[in-house]
């Protein structure tokens, strides 16, 4: 049975992981996401479901524990925040290269460096363009509420196993820390059977399973790279998720994800009360990015405004998607500052004036 609770976004991720039948969580404390590990330790999931929870010595160790668990075909999750996610990049490229499923939550804070502990969206490039070395992608989900923090855990595991690919929930300190009501999924049992590729011990009836990202033969490595790319194209065909609000009659379009999208919904109301016909397209998957709906809307609107808590990262993907068909501007705040609905409307009015 579903259950209604009032929770922080970070707690919702932790509870959803237990309920999704996760086998293990490996993590390291960092603000603003430490509640994930704290909640799990408090909940004793080893008693509830047998789930393993371990505080690692570093984010580096944690992501490599994820590698080891995922290679056994288990549902494994880790979480961190920006500086910690940078440390996990080595592990993530190995996980992508070994084609292992796992779930990584990035509760983004402002950067660069140690930056701030306040919310930001400045890790977009790192999340959607690969992050570590080599040609690879994470599948990136961007929740805008505590409800979606919970929902995307189960969805993330499903996608990770469907594509044998790491999935990232890219959220921020605002959603991680804020409390909202959330309908929690019912408890799923943990897996009892594991994928055929998993290193669970070589039984007499099969060849040994080897999990590696190494291939010294260039021709074979390129073939593998092409296979990965085909996987990403399939994601682009089948896994694009987005939400459209007020786009039917829109003259202008806001494009925003996560916390920014939440704020932009208010900006749409304010602008419409002023007589500006504006809509919002909210990418839910950041990779694969909703290129097609944006290209279609580019033929109908006079301008687009990408709103992000960054210096302008997603705006590049919006521009690539519309391919010069319409003007695309960026409005953003940085350093942990969250934009107000009114300043977004001001930015939109400037864009409109520029077009006139």
């Amino acid at each position: 049975m579903k259950e209604l609770k009032l929770m922080k976004g970070n707690e919702a991720v932790a509870e959803a992981a237990i309920r999704a039948g996760a086998d293990a969580y490996f993590g390291y404390p960092i603000t603003p996401q430490s509640e994930v590990l704290e909640y799990l330790m408090m909940e004793k999931p080893h008693e509830r479901t047998g789930m393993v929870v371990l505080q690692a010595e570093s984010e580096v160790a944690a992501i490599n524990m994820v590698y080891g668990g995922a290679a056994c075909g288990r549902k494994v999750i880790t979480s961190s925040s920006s500086p910690g996610i940078s440390l996990k990049q080595e592990g993530l490229t190995y996980i992508a290269g070994a084609e292992l499923p796992c779930l990584v939550v990035n509760v983004v804070r402002g950067g660069p460096g140690l930056g701030t502990i306040q919310p930001a969206q400045s890790d977009y490039f790192q999340a959607v363009k690969g992050g570590g070395h080599g040609d690879y992608h994470l599948l990136v989900l961007a929740p805008q509420s505590v409800q979606e923090m919970s929902d995307f855990v189960g969805l993330g595991f499903d996608l990770a196993f469907r594509y044998r690919n790491p999935v990232m929930i890219l959220t921020d300190g605002a959603i991680g820390q804020m409390m909202e009501k959330v309908w929690l999924d019912e408890q799923k049992p943990r897996m009892t059977e594991f994928p055929s590729w998993a290193t669970t011990g070589k039984s007499a009836d099969r060849e040994r399973n080897i999990i590696t990202s190494l291939e010294l033969d260039s021709a074979k490595q390129e073939k593998f790279n092409l296979k990965l790319q085909a996987k990403y194209r399939k994601m682009e065909e089948e896994e694009v998720r987005y939400e459209k609000i007020g786009c039917e009659d829109a003259d202008y379009l806001l494009v925003a994800y996560g916390t920014s999208a939440r704020i932009c919904q208010k900006s749409v109301q304010i602008a419409r009360s002023k007589g500006i016909k504006v809509g919002l397209l909210r990418p839910i998957t950041l990779f694969p990015f909703p290129k097609k709906p944006l290209f279609e809307l580019a033929g109908r609107v006079r301008g687009m405004l990408a709103v992000e808590m960054s210096a302008g990262q997603m705006v590049e993907d919006v521009r690539l998607a519309v391919n010069g068909k319409v003007i695309v501007e960026h409005y953003g705040r940085m350093g942990g500052i969250i934009p107000s609905p009114d300043e977004i409307v001001d930015a939109l009015e400037k864009l409109i004036k520029k077009g006139e």
Binding site: V60, A61, A62, M65, G69, A98, R208, I210, T212
Partner: protein, 263 residues
């Protein structure tokens, strides 16, 4: 003698030695004279003798032994450089009934993976760590390792390891023996038949210890690197005995959770 058929000699009752089935038929890439091949064989033989081929998961390092999964017929994972103890931690925690080992060189275990090694040891993860120490980075072409001896030459210490400039060689095995999480810590070698027999016993003990659930077992094997050391295999073994063993003395360092008194 000329009319004896091979079938007259190779009879089941005459068989005194055969390759363990846990080793594959792949030709090893190791340099002639290198200790890795012997160390691999001993681990494979112990896995067969303990009848745990279907229950063993090995974690390979980055370094010369990166391709170990080509040679052992068991499920294996290839870890990022130095991270094998973290990878093994998860495998063992998720499948506590399985036998889990890492196989790591000195650069992997004692330099880039120092944190993972110490913390897996300190948590007392119920795994086995095989540590091959040849005092050099073999795979990348003979650079200085954390275990390179003082004044020992390598491609990045071409005039010898200068302690003032490059620091001291690190005795990771003695270091982790101090931690309460380690149960069995020993240093062995595989350059003579007698040492091979001792090393095999240590490997068996280290794997059997996983059944006791008392903590981590670490077997260091002091080995040679004739290519990296720029010596013939025989010279390399002699050099190892004369130079490596005095600094890295062979024998048990910790037995059944207790430090062994060493002179």
């Amino acid at each position: 003698m000329g009319d004896i058929e091979s079938g007259d000699i190779i009879k089941d009752e005459n068989l005194v030695y055969s390759k363990t089935k846990v080793l594959t038929d792949n030709v090893m890439h190791y340099c002639p004279g290198c200790g890795h091949g012997t160390a691999h064989r001993l681990i494979a033989e112990v896995i067969e003798e303990m009848d745990i081929q279907s229950e063993t998961i090995g974690i390979t390092p980055v370094g010369c032994a990166v391709l170990m999964y080509n040679y052992l017929d068991i499920d294996m994972q290839e870890a990022a450089h130095g991270r094998a103890p973290a990878v093994a931690t998860a495998v063992k925690r998720l499948m506590p009934e399985k036998f889990v080992f890492t196989y790591q060189g000195d650069g992997d275990l004692a330099a880039i993976g120092t944190a993972e090694t110490i913390h897996a040891c300190n948590r007392g993860e119920n795994i086995t760590v095989f540590f091959i120490n040849n005092g050099i980075y073999g795979m990348t072409g003979g650079q200085m390792a954390p275990t390179t001896l003082v004044n020992m030459m390598s491609s990045t210490s071409p005039y010898g390891r200068d302690v003032q400039m490059m620091g001291n060689p690190l005795k990771m095995t003695e270091l982790v023996a101090q931690l309460p999480g380690t149960f069995y810590v020993t240093r062995q070698a595989v350059h003579t038949p007698s040492n091979v027999r001792k090393a095999k016993k240590a490997i068996r003990k280290a794997l059997e210890n996983q059944k006791l659930k008392k903590g981590l077992s670490l077997v260091e094997i002091v080995s040679n690197c004739n290519s990296g050391w720029k010596m013939s295999p025989v010279q390399a073994n002699q050099w190892m005995v004369e130079n490596m063993f005095p600094f890295y003395p062979l024998g048990d360092i910790k037995l059944d959770g207790k430090l062994v008194n060493q002179e």
